[in-house]
């Protein structure tokens, strides 16, 4: 290549900017990427969020602790149980309440079912992002079974508000255990199909392998947690590190992958589904009899001080930071949401890739926009 052509090709300063979002099929919500392109190659991108900012933290300052629960559902709506649990654990720890064993077991089962449902939906959406439209229906078909379990016990499918400080809203349905066992049996047959349809596919592998390399150091520095962080070898599973609820009683593996590309994040989530099923199987037969809630006062007043509770949601580490001034309302509540941190690595990962890679990467990070904006 002569110098002249090189100059024309590589020293152009004009950038081609396109807006991806707020209404775009691949941002899974109202998120906007300002993408700067050079041909097909992304040079840099600027995320803009806030389109669905509802001020949950401000609203919580006017709500009593039981009233906060229903707002946490609406942050990461696919991990509604885990969000509820985080606030409840924080309040229980502050009040030094010991919840019954039955509650711990049920909470853990619900969290894992929620994780399964969330990962299923992620799988279908990820397939869609890459253009395999059929995955969407297979994933939703299987997720429907979990939602039916939820609906039978709590009356709602997505936003349950089922866990309250001290225990549960009410006891689970008598069918609960049988239905879960049925579902596990069913899903153990269906999950290998996911692999056949997408994981092994040569087009899929070419699209994901080596794309969006995230090193362990970057993952820690940027605070990437959850399956996205573990895909880079960052051991950040709260369930293992700081076990809560019934996690100390169960045997499971923290899946880690050292590669750190989009495919390893994908594979990790598939593996996590197997682990979740293992956890549920260990717990579902041994739910102890007992009360579904501990004795709680009518009005909860947290002692003055600051409390922090970490919980592993489907997308990473959810932290609840409550500052109490002894009143029945929290003085300040802050949710350290996993997606907030996970989003801002996008610029680093997607720069230098193609537009199609950008879509694959944002899909593999599994972003839920209301969780970012809160």
């Amino acid at each position: 290549m002569t110098e002249e052509i090189k100059e024309i090709l590589f020293t152009e300063h004009e950038e081609y900017m396109i807006n991806m979002g707020p209404q775009h099929p691949s941002t899974h919500g109202v998120l906007r990427f300002e993408v700067f392109l050079k041909g097909e190659v992304v040079t840099r991108l600027v995320p803009h969020c806030g389109y669905i900012h509802r001020g949950i933290e401000k609203m919580c300052e006017k709500d009593t602790y039981p009233q906060i629960i229903h707002l946490t559902d609406r942050m990461d709506y696919f991990s509604a149980h885990m969000n509820n649990e985080a606030v409840c654990l924080c309040v229980e720890n502050a009040l030094q309440v010991e919840v019954p064993e039955r509650v711990k077991y049920i909470r853990t089962i619900l969290a894992e079912l929620g994780r399964l449902a969330s990962h299923q939906l992620w799988w279908c959406a990820f397939g869609m992002d890459l253009g395999a439209l059929t995955t969407f229906f297979y994933g939703l078909r299987d997720r429907e079974k979990i939602l039916d379990i939820f609906e039978e016990s709590f009356g709602s499918r997505l936003l349950h508000s089922f866990i309250t400080p001290g225990g549960l809203m009410h006891d689970v349905h008598p069918n609960f255990q049988n239905r879960i066992k049925e579902f596990i049996k069913y899903f153990r047959k269906k999950l290998p199909e996911y692999d056949q349809l997408l994981t092994g596919n040569i087009i899929f592998q070419n699209r994901t392998k080596g794309i969006g390399q995230l090193s362990k150091e970057d993952a820690i520095a940027y605070g990437i947690t959850g399956p996205s962080g573990r895909g880079s070898g960052f051991s950040c599973d709260i369930r293992k590190k700081y076990p809560y609820s019934a996690y100390p009683y169960v045997q499971f593996e923290e899946k880690l992958s050292e590669v750190g590309d989009t495919f390893s994040r994908y594979k990790l989530r598939i593996d996590e589904m197997w682990e979740s099923m293992k956890i549920i199987e260990q717990l579902v037969d041994n739910i102890p009899e007992g009360d579904y809630t501990a004795k709680m006062k009518a009005v909860l007043r947290l002692p003055e001080g600051e409390y922090f509770q970490k919980v592993e949601t489907a997308r990473g580490e959810l932290g609840v930071y409550i500052v109490s001034d002894g009143n029945k309302y929290p003085y300040r509540i802050k949710f350290r949401t996993p997606n907030f941190s996970n989003l801002f690595i996008m610029n680093k990962l997607a720069s230098g890739g193609k537009i199609a890679d950008l879509v694959a990467i944002s899909g593999s990070l599994d972003l839920i926009i209301p969780d970012i904006d809160r």
């Binding site: 229903h70 016990s153 349809l197």
Partner: protein
Amino acid sequence: MEIITYITDIFKGLKSLWKGMMITGYYFVHPKEIVTQRYPENRKTLVMFERFKGEVTMPHDENNQHSCTGCGICETNCPNGSIEIITRKEVNESGKLERVIEKHIYHLSMCTFCELCIKTCPSNALAWGNEFEHAVFDRHKLTKVLNKPGSSLKKEPKEKKLEEVKN
């Protein structure tokens, strides 16, 4: 040797593609696996789960009586202000002034189905209804009065109530 890997790559790729096509092909020829619910047609047979949270209702018995005393606990517990209670004072049989609800107003459009009103109600006057077809053209229609016109407070014998508490 590169030529051999080149050719094996092609065959591996084709095999993986064929595997995926077998899955979609399998479902294509197995219409029994179809999960579509034909909604308006199956309305008769469609049964919601008994715990389904459709809307907040106030159960009335055959004498058009409910058990809401109008204490206002549900109103204070509602995080969204979707419940309003209008009460009035009335002289009862024993000559005492008693609080009676005039209207128990429920804004379905603001409800987030957090279940706090139902859980905290001391007299179990509220319950979930299974109705889920809430679509209307005017959102004011979603504001409902839960107590039926002409309804009154259920008078239960005191002993029976005590027994219930004991149980």
